[in-house]
C-alpha cells in the first residue's frame, strides 16, 4: 500500500495486522505458469479432485502483475532462469515463492550443465515442497504452511526481510 513503511516503530499494529494477514491468506492468487512435469500435478491440485479453491486460491493469474504467489513448478533451465527472475520482479509486493518439486528446490535428478541447481539461486524462496512430483496433498500442505507463515507477519516489515526465512 505504500503507507505501512511510514509507520514509526513506536506504533504497534495488532488487530490491523491480523486483518490484513487474514485477507492476504484467504485470497492468495498464484501466478499461473508451469515449467515441467510438476506443473501437471499443480493443475491437478487446482482441479476438481483436490480442489484448492477451498482456500481461496482457485484463480490462476496469467499476468505476474496480479499475482501474489509464484509456484515454481518444475526444473529451471539455464535459458529460462532470466525469465523467471523477470517474472518475479514484475510481481507486486507482497509476494511469496513456493518451490515445488525436487528440481526447483535442488536440481533433482538433473545434476548437469543445463539445469539451475535450485531456483533459490536466482530468487528468494519461502517454502520448499519435496517430491518428484509432489502429490497434490503435499503441495497443499506446503501452501497451508505458507499460510501459517503469512499469519505471523506484520505489515510493517518490508518485503526484503520476509524473503527466505531459513
Amino acid at each position: 500500500m505504500g503507507l505501512e513503511e511510514k509507520i514509526p516503530d513506536s506504533i504497534m499494529l495488532t488487530t490491523l495486522d491480523k486483518m490484513v494477514n487474514w485477507s492476504r491468506r484467504r485470497s492468495m492468487w498464484p501466478l499461473g505458469f508451469g515449467l515441467a512435469c510438476c506443473a501437471i500435478e499443480m493443475i491437478s491440485t487446482f482441479g476438481p479432485h483436490f480442489d484448492l479453491a477451498r482456500y481461496g486460491m482457485e484463480v490462476m493469474r496469467p499476468s505476474p502483475r496480479q499475482a501474489d504467489l509464484m509456484i515454481v513448478a518444475g526444473r529451471v533451465s539455464v535459458k529460462m532462469a532470466p525469465i523467471i527472475k523477470t517474472l518475479y520482479e514484475q510481481m507486486p509486493n507482497p509476494k511469496w515463492v513456493l518451490s515445488m518439486g525436487a528440481c526447483a528446490s535442488s536440481g533433482g535428478v538433473f545434476n548437469n550443465y543445463a539445469v539451475v541447481q535450485g531456483v533459490d539461486r536466482i530468487i528468494p524462496v519461502d517454502i520448499y515442497v519435496p517430491g518428484c512430483p509432489p502429490r497434490p496433498e503435499q503441495l497443499m500442505e506446503g501452501i497451508l504452511k505458507l499460510h501459517e507463515m503469512v499469519k505471523k507477519e506484520s505489515i510493517k516489515n518490508p518485503r526484503e526481510e520476509w524473503g527466505r526465512k531459513g
Binding site: 533451465s77 539455464v78 545434476n111 548437469n112 550443465y113 541447481q117
Partner: protein
C-alpha cells in the same frame, strides 16, 4: 525389401557404398559423406521403393573409442519406406575437424529442425541449410553439449553441514 534397396544402391551408387551392416535385424548402409544428398534424392524419386519419410537425423560421437579411426562422428539418417513398411539407416562417418554434410532441407522440410539440432548438440555443419543456428541450448553456452569431451558438469549436493560453502562444480 532389403534386397531391393541393396540392388538399387549398388546399381547407381556402387562406389559410394562403403559397407553394409545388419545388427539385430536392422539394416544400415555406410556411405560416403558427399553422396548422402544424391542417394536420398534418388530414393525419394523412386516410386517403387517409396522412401517418403525421413524419420530422424542424429549423430554419435565416438570420441576416445577404437571405432573413431573411421572418423569421430557418425551421422545416422533414419529412412522409412511407406509402402513396404520398412526402415533402414544410412550412416556416414565424419572427421573430427570440420565435420560437414550437405543439407537435406531441399528434399524434406522436416530435416530443417533435425539438422539444426545435430548442429547445436554435436557441431556438425550442414551446407545449404537455410538457418543453421542454435535451437535448444542457450545462446551463451559455448561448445556442443553432446560431444563426449563436453563435461556433464556435476555439482556437489549441499547438505546442512556444507550449506554455507560456495557451490562446488566438478567437471
Amino acid at each position: 525389401m532389403e534386397e531391393k534397396i541393396r540392388q538399387f544402391l549398388n546399381s547407381k551408387f556402387s562406389d559410394s557404398i562403403i559397407r553394409e551392416d545388419n545388427f539385430r535385424g536392422e539394416q544400415s548402409f555406410y556411405v560416403k559423406p558427399e553422396s548422402i544428398f544424391p542417394i536420398c534424392e534418388a530414393l525419394l524419386e523412386n516410386d517403387d521403393l517409396d522412401v517418403k519419410f525421413l524419420k530422424d537425423i542424429t549423430a554419435v560421437d565416438w570420441y576416445d573409442h577404437p571405432l573413431a579411426e573411421n572418423g569421430r562422428f557418425e551421422v545416422i539418417y533414419n529412412l522409412y519406406s511407406f509402402a513396404h513398411k520398412y526402415r533402414f539407416f544410412l550412416k556416414v562417418f565424419l572427421p573430427e575437424d570440420n565435420p560437414n554434410l550437405t543439407s537435406l532441407t531441399g528434399l524434406w522440410i522436416g530435416a530443417n529442425w533435425l539438422e539444426r539440432e545435430v548442429y547445436d548438440l554435436f557441431g556438425v555443419t550442414f551446407e545449404g541449410h537455410p538457418d543453421l543456428t542454435k535451437i535448444i541450448t542457450p545462446d551463451e553456452l559455448e561448445g556442443h553439449p553432446l560431444r563426449k569431451d563436453f563435461p556433464l558438469t556435476y555439482e556437489k549436493p549441499r547438505f546442512s553441514w556444507n550449506k554455507d560453502n560456495p557451490p562446488e562444480v566438478i567437471k
